[in-house]
Symmetry: C2
Subunit: 113 residues, 2 copies
């Protein structure tokens, strides 16, 4: 199984995390599992990449956090996508479509040959 590194996905970790949060609030470890599932095991995001993504998104106001009300287990920090985060996600999705088209304009000729 070929796996991707976060470095290859650089710039898209924001989009990936936000698209998981678009389906409802969640916390680090669970988001990590969801990313792994939704990528079919092809993208095992690094812990440090994930948590630094949370920090960046929160600093930018795209997500907000709260401590869960667990009565057992270790405390979890839950994240919610903000309205501003939703808009940012849409903008990044459009940017992705454009980036994809541009990259493919170059790559298609290679694949053909």
């Amino acid at each position: 199984m070929v796996e991707l590194s976060s470095d290859v996905m650089r710039g898209y970790n924001d989009v990936i995390v936000l698209s998981v949060l678009a389906q409802g609030d969640s916390y680090g470890y669970e988001i990590s599992r969801r990313i792994n599932e939704r990528s079919g095991g092809r993208y095992p995001i690094k812990e440090t990449t994930l948590y630094s993504t949370f920090a960046r998104l929160e600093r930018s106001g795209y997500i907000s956090s709260y401590v869960g009300a667990e009565t057992f287990g270790r405390q979890r920090t839950y994240y919610t996508m903000t309205e501003s985060g939703r808009k940012y996600l849409l903008v990044k999705c459009e940017e992705w479509q454009l980036a994809k088209e541009v990259i493919e304009a170059f790559i298609d000729k290679i694949i053909e040959s």
Copy 2:
């Protein structure tokens, strides 16, 4: 016209430069123009990004350079893709297909909604 920054294309500048060189030797300024053309003006690569990409690719042995035999105008440095560069390009193209599938696994759900 929406334009992409090299930062969004981060990691794919190698692929873009190599795919231009796959069509024949060329030099900085011309490669820059070709990238602009082939991207339909959507990717005006920064000079410094381009030349630092050349330096990296050459250090890695994926391209080699020689000084052109111009009898007029400023000296140009031409680049050639090496055999190793050709293999690297193919590997990066496969990596791209995978990255694309993974990113779209997340983004598709956003676009639908």
